[in-house]
Symmetry: C2
Amino acid sequence: MKVDNRTCKPLSIDIRVLGKTDTETCKRMLSELSKGLAHPARVEIIRILNHTPLEERCICGDIVGALPLAQSSVSQHLKVLKETGWIHGEIDGPRVCYCIVGGIIEYYMELVRRSTQE
Amino acid sequence: MKVDNRTCKPLSIDIRVLGKTDTETCKRMLSELSKGLAHPARVEIIRILNHTPLEERCICGDIVGALPLAQSSVSQHLKVLKETGWIHGEIDGPRVCYCIVGGIIEYYMELVRRSTQE
DNA sequence: TTATATTATCGTACATCTACGATAAACGAT
DNA sequence: ATCGTTTATCGTAGATGTACGATAATATAA
């Protein structure tokens, strides 16, 4: 019998790959990730996921409950965050467990630095 | 006779105001600024303006020349950057001199930190 | 199997974004 | 006053974003 194991493999991004990434690619990556942050609801989702401790991973329903939007709208925002590279999800029974990509915030900051100061 | 004085009053933003800003406002400001970065052309404009030394301020034509877009399209991107708080412009004869808002990049980074880690 | 819970997707309706050419507006120069 | 330069705005067209209810899909539970 399956217990409430909210599992998300800790998928991470290595900030060092940026050392080998050309400026044009950096700009595209930055604008793509920025699109993810370009809505208050998505900023809030990132905040929630970044807040949630590893042993208590966040399932979709928790996020829906925390936002003043319909379930289908939240699902769309989660999709945008997945497509723009901020989060990943894993099916856990009838539910889906969402996690923030490890190190993505630092990665984003570095992208801002590199793209604007290069 | 007017010489080529590319003047832009150095308009700046004080990062300390964030200390008195509530979370909800931070999220709205972050998503608004992020919208500004959500296109490669606008990232490039920010990079150019951040690169240009103060004594050689950037006029609109320079930016148009640096991008593979029509003048009207660049003008629209400049408008978005103005509306989202990244840059400001000053009329200088028939031309317009654009400048990045002082300290806006650090301000943006701090917004990312506060909005995601709060 | 059937029912229940959870989440994605579909269909729809507006709004906003993106890009362009054409035009207007503002100013300096002649 | 007229011309040329520079930049914003308009009009248009197509793409994308946003929000919702309804429905489908998936897995567990009964």
